[in-house]
Structures are given as structure tokens and as C-alpha cells.
Amino acid sequence: MEPSSNQQTVAVKINEDYCSRCSICSSLCPYDAIKKDPETGKMLLEIAKCQVCAICYSACPAKAIDIIYYDIKSLTKYLERAKQEYQSDSLVIMCKGCAPDFGGIEKLFGISKFVPLSVPCVGRIPVDVLLKAIATMGIKGIYILACEEDYCRFERGSSITGRRIMALNILLEQFGYGKEIIKLQRCSLKVKAARDKCISCGNCAFYCPYDAAKLESGAAEFDLNLCRGCGLCVALCPAMALELENWEGERISASISRLSLEMTKPKILVFRCQWSVFPSLDEKLNSDVRVIDLPCAARVDPLHILEAFQNGIDGILIAACPEEDCKSKTGSKESQRLITALRKTLSQIGLEERLHFCSVAPRYPETFYAELQQFKERIETSYSKKARQ
């Protein structure tokens, strides 16, 4: 059951003292979560519908929206620190939906040294932050990597960013900062299919939430214009003929072995949908916890879970969005099904308690850390019991 909003800290609030009731927020919200009360004229936020895309936050002209994640203050603080650390006057802002890391930036923008900032949707960045970076922090060029407009996980985040940057560039040019000081590129990750490995089982065609897969002339064919890169087909392909660009199985395997080596016992590994938890920009994890962020819970591969156990991980937590919040339609639901089946198999060798699936949403920022703490305590208890034996 989802916790009710009155007991929980919520991630987004409207500050009535500042609100001018202009309705920009409600006109931009992709989820109909903000409405004007017809009687009082007040703007009301229905937190249960909110997906915390923060388009309202970045658009509010009165600064009347309070948000826990990536607010102007924490973004500025991060940029000041990162500017020192990375010693560069180029800033790269990337949506997490585009890539798991900054490896492809050099090829895309032709820069090798930059201040990196990765956020769930670039639509949440207020223009103030960009202006501040250029005007007071000595940033000379801003490079923004956003998802392709139609593939934005928050529907409008990418297209709104495009319009904002166009306007901002015109303004900055008039102020003498040069032409196109902010550069925008778009990319979306897609499935990669090895036709020669396909066994024509039809799983991808049946399970793809976007009808991107078809079984044709003896092998699965993918319409990449329809593929949204959730990775569900990859986890369900019995022939292991599919990969998700930038989230290849081997890449995740390498992360598992690297992280398991740097952890202290009892080791807890979290496979986390990157839309279910928004970590703070300075997220610090204890040495016994490590996280692998994935493009959707659907990309959680049972083989990776078993591999982690083999690498000496003591407990594995899967953090997914609640079914109704899933950014890839059926991803959360199918992931839960796969994990339940795997737990059943693991129960035959007594390992089922070491694997836990939880649904968490960024609108309630405390739920993930509460789930993690609870799971940790469970694993620690069984670990110390085992050690005593």
C-alpha cells in the first residue's frame, strides 16, 4: 500500500505565500497533478499523481514551488564544488535516460574535459542555474544532452528544454556572450538485436510495451522508432540475442564484480530503476551498500542477480516504481513477476530471503532509504547468525 501523504515527507510542495496563481505549472504538468481550485483560486497539487519531473519547479516565475531534489541551491552548490574538482569551463548536463555515464560525451560534443551533471530529465533545470553558471561561475559553454522529444520519460521535459534553450541563446547573444553558448543534442538508447541468435520464440513481440518487436521471416525485427529502451525484451530473451545500448549485459556484469570487490560485509547490492529514486547530488552510501542504476526495473536481469550472489553479495534489493508510475508501461509489473519467480527458485536453496523487491516513488523521498534500512537489518541479522554458527 502506498503511504498516505499526510504522514510522509513529500518531494514537491506549493508555497502559497509566493504563488501568484498564474497557472503556468498546471498548464505544463504532464500528469494533471496541479489544478486551480475553482472556488478559492489556489493552485492545488495532488501529490499521488506527481511524478516529480519538476517541470513546474523550473517554470514557476514566482519561485513558489518547493522541491527536495536538485533545487537551485543544491545545483549551485554542486556546480561550485564540481567546477573546482573538474577544473573546466565547460558544463555538461545530461538526462539519465540518455546514458548511464559520461563516456559518450567526447564523441558527441567534442570535449574531453568538463563539469558533469546528470539528472533525471533536463526539464527540471531552471534557467536561473544556467545563467548563474555562465554569469558568475566562469562557465563558457553548456552542453545539454536530452532524450529525443518523443521518448522523454516525463513526456514534455525534453521539448520544453529545447524551447527554453532556443530563447536563452538569443538572449545571451544579445548580451554579448556569443552565438549558441548552450548546445543541445538529443539521443535515446535502443535495443540491439543479433538476428543470428534469435530462436523466434516471440517473447519480445508479445512483451514489448511499445509494439516495437515483430516476428518476421524467422527472426525478431525491431522498429527502432518505436523502441523506448526499457530493456524488458533483453531480460526476457531466452536466446540472449538482445542487448540494450549502453546497458549491455557485460557492462552490468563488470559493475557487479567491481562493486562487490570494494564493498564491506555484509554486502548489499541495489538494482534501482533510475526513475524510482532520485539520489541527491552528493549521495553517500555506506561501504556495505552499492547501487546499480538501470533505465527501468525491466532491465533487472535474473542472471545478474545470480551473478551478484556468486560474487559474494549477501543481499540484493530491487527498487522499482509502483506499477502505475512505471515510465515504461509494464516494466515494473513484469520485473516483479520475474523476481517473484526467481525468489521461488531461490527458495529451493534457501536464498529467497536475500532477494527483495520493493516499489518506491521519488514523490516520497524517504521510502527508498527506509526500505534499504529494513532490508539491511534483515541481512545483517542473518549474517551475524551465520557468523556465529
Binding site: I199, C201, N203, F206, C237, P238, A239, M240, P302, L303, L306, E307, F309, Q310, T345, L346, Q348, I349, G350, L351
Partner: protein
């Protein structure tokens, strides 16, 4: 498709425990759910984890092939991989296991699956349903494409029996009465009269076991 269910891991670990070098062979053929490379790797990891808990370390290799029930494919795919292998664990159906046993007579082969039936995959319901008994004398032309041999609990050819109630079977009220389905379907197609024709008794000779057909 041949529907199979994985054996309990304990049972698999029990028969593998005297051996160390095991080749796990997947089958990309008609077994459902597909028992290809992913299943073979998954099982390999489970055996390793389960073995470790029993204090046993296995040396496991994984391979898959288009279909295990083809003597030529089974031999040519597996033979080159069998050096130092003590036993093969097959993810194929009963046919796969037996084909391997036949083409590699000096090697031990164990089944990782229980073979259940010939069935269809009802994707929307997420179930596998038995639909064909391989009886050798198909009467689907007379029964509107619904098989009473498998779907009627009593295998009646002249049903329904007195236990049919509200379209459900008296043996298992969860299941549809096959003859109720047949009659409703024939009625809809305007072909109910085919059931009134007198037919000779069923040819049971066709199901003499073991079956063998010579290819032309």
C-alpha cells in the same frame, strides 16, 4: 510445443553430486518455456550456488543447440564439447535426454526437466494448456477444432456425459466441458449435423507404442 517444468534443484543436485565436470545443454527447439541459453546459464548459476551451500564445487560448461531431439544435431553439437565431461544435464524434454543418451552411449545424461504434455501457450493468461494427446487418429475435423481426447477428462468421443453442468466438467469444475464447447462451436458454425452421422469405431491401432514412422 512440448511443455516442461524444471525439476527441483535438490533432485538435480542429488544426481549430479558424484560428478564434477558437467555440461549443461539447452534446447532452442519447441520446449516451452524456451530452455535455451538463458535458462542453461541460469541453471548453471543456481547449481553452482546450491552446490556451494552443500560444500560441493562443480565445473560447469553451458551450451545450447537448435533442437536436442535430432540425432545428427545432438551428436555434432555435443560431441566436440565432451572431452573431460562426466555428465550432461539436458534442459530438453524427454526426447532431448533420450536422443543424447542414444548418440553419446558412453556418457551419462540427466534430465533437468519434467516433461508434461503437448500444449499451447495461452500468452494472455500466462498458462500452458494441454491440447493434443498425439493419439494418431485426429478427429478435429468433426469436433470444430476442439479435441475431446485431451480436453474431456474422460476422453469421450460421444459426449457430453451426464457430469457436464453449466459448461463445466464434473471432474474439475474449474475446467470447461470439452463437449459443451464442441457443441456450441459446431452450432455457431452451422455444422451440428456432423455429429449425427454414424462413424466406425476409432482406430486404436494408430497409437501402438512405441510409435515409428519411416520417412520417405
Amino acid at each position: 510445443m512440448i511443455i516442461t517444468a524444471q525439476k527441483p534443484l535438490d533432485e538435480i543436485l542429488d544426481f549430479l553430486s558424484p560428478y564434477s565436470n558437467i555440461l549443461i545443454a539447452g534446447c532452442d527447439g519447441c520446449t516451452q518455456p524456451p530452455r535455451g541459453l538463458r535458462e542453461a546459464k541460469t541453471l548453471s548459476q543456481l547449481i553452482e550456488l546450491g552446490g556451494r551451500l552443500r560444500g560441493k564445487n562443480f565445473n560447469l560448461e553451458v551450451i545450447t543447440m537448435p533442437k536436442q531431439c535430432d540425432s545428427y544435431l545432438a551428436l555434432t553439437t555435443l560431441k566436440p564439447q565432451t572431452e573431460d565431461v562426466e555428465a550432461i544435464l539436458s534442459l530438453g524434454c524427454g526426447l532431448g535426454v533420450q536422443t543424447i543418451a542414444q548418440v553419446l552411449p558412453d556418457l551419462l545424461v540427466f534430465p533437468a526437466q519434467n516433461t508434461l504434455f503437448i500444449g499451447m501457450e495461452a500468452r494472455e493468461e500466462g498458462t500452458f494448456e494441454e491440447r493434443c494427446a498425439a493419439c494418431g487418429d485426429c478427429i478435429l475435423a468433426l469436433t470444430g477444432g476442439i479435441c475431446p481426447v485431451t480436453r474431456c477428462a474422460k476422453g469421450l468421443l460421444n459426449g457430453p456425459c451426464g457430469g457436464s453442468s453449466n459448461g463445466k466438467c464434473e471432474v474439475d469444475p474449474e475446467k470447461d466441458c470439452a463437449w459443451d464447447l464442441i457443441i456450441k462451436r459446431l452450432e455457431k458454425l452451422g455444422r451440428l449435423s456432423v455429429l449425427e452421422e454414424i462413424r466406425p469405431p476409432r482406430n486404436f491401432w494408430q497409437v501402438a507404442r512405441p510409435g515409428r514412422v519411416k520417412q520417405l
